[in-house]
Amino acid sequence: MTRTGRIALSAVGLAGMAAMLAWGVAGLEPFGHYPGPYGTLLNAVEPGERHAANVVAAVVFDYRGLDTLGEELILFCAATGLAFLLRENREENTRGVRDRVSSDGLRAAGIVAVPVVVLLALDMVAHGYVTPGGGFQGGVAAAGGLLLVYLAGDWRALRRAAPLPVVDTAEAGGAAGFAVLGFVTLIAGGAFLDNLLPFGTFGTLTSGGTIPVANWCAGLEVTAAFVLIFLEFLEEIMAERVRDS
């Protein structure tokens, strides 16, 4: 098809879709009038049942925990898939890379920044079920923090800080941890991903029963998965540098 033909065809399609979607969306309640009952019921019963202040976290890690298990595995799958796709340039080919030494100021800033960012991220993970945040958000941030090692130091420093087997294993551990949690509750006599731990005091870090455990598994998985994804992409650049030199 020519470019014009393609645009014409899609114009027809998009116009039709626009009309159709508009018609469908018109059937929704007016903006700001969520009809329920799912969310309304959860907002009403969750604080009493699970003692977690963040209802979203309770939904993610308890009521709809299976979705989150699937989601963690999608992420795991993507990181595995990237390693699969970008395998040509893994590790061996990029060993000879040398960075220009960055300025001392930058390096000093980095040395300070890395722990600060990582700690903040861990805090975000830790309070995920009390305040906004949680395993996913904190995990991405923590991965980003580790990446500062590269910006402040060099490629080899990053490699030392995050050796591939360790990151791989951490990632696998996070993903498996969630599934293991399900099996443990099953063995303990509950339903899969049942919440069997004591629920603790509302609004504290010990609240929520298994929610914190699941949350930390997710945090570990997300951090490791994103570090892996970043490493895979950076390695592509490093391989180019090796070829250049």
């Binding site: 906004p132 958000q137 991405v140 991965a143 994804i229 650049i237 180019e240 070829r243």
Partner: protein, 82 residues
């Protein structure tokens, strides 16, 4: 509140169009970064701080890193081929 919501909605819509229409990849990458941040604002006014935080993490950390590295790799190859 309503005003903020409308402003955020309009910004998101406009930026999405810009991302799509601009064909220079480098500019698109930058526009896309802004687009992500405006989405964060929209999520905040929708009272969804959890989603906003994850969008923030994604659009400030994850996306820039992978898009920029992808671009850098492509540029480097193109320069060498020439």
């Amino acid at each position: 509140m309503i005003g903020v919501q409308i402003a955020a909605l309009a910004l998101v819509g406009g930026l999405a169009l810009a991302v799509v229409l601009v064909h220079d990849v480098l500019r698109v990458a930058m526009l896309y970064g802004v687009y992500g941040l405006v989405l964060v604002v929209l999520f905040v006014v929708f009272q969804a701080p959890d989603v906003a935080l994850s969008q923030l993490a994604v659009s400030t950390v994850a996306f820039p890193l992978i898009v920029v590295t992808a671009l850098a790799k492509v540029k480097r190859r193109e320069r060498r081929n020439r």
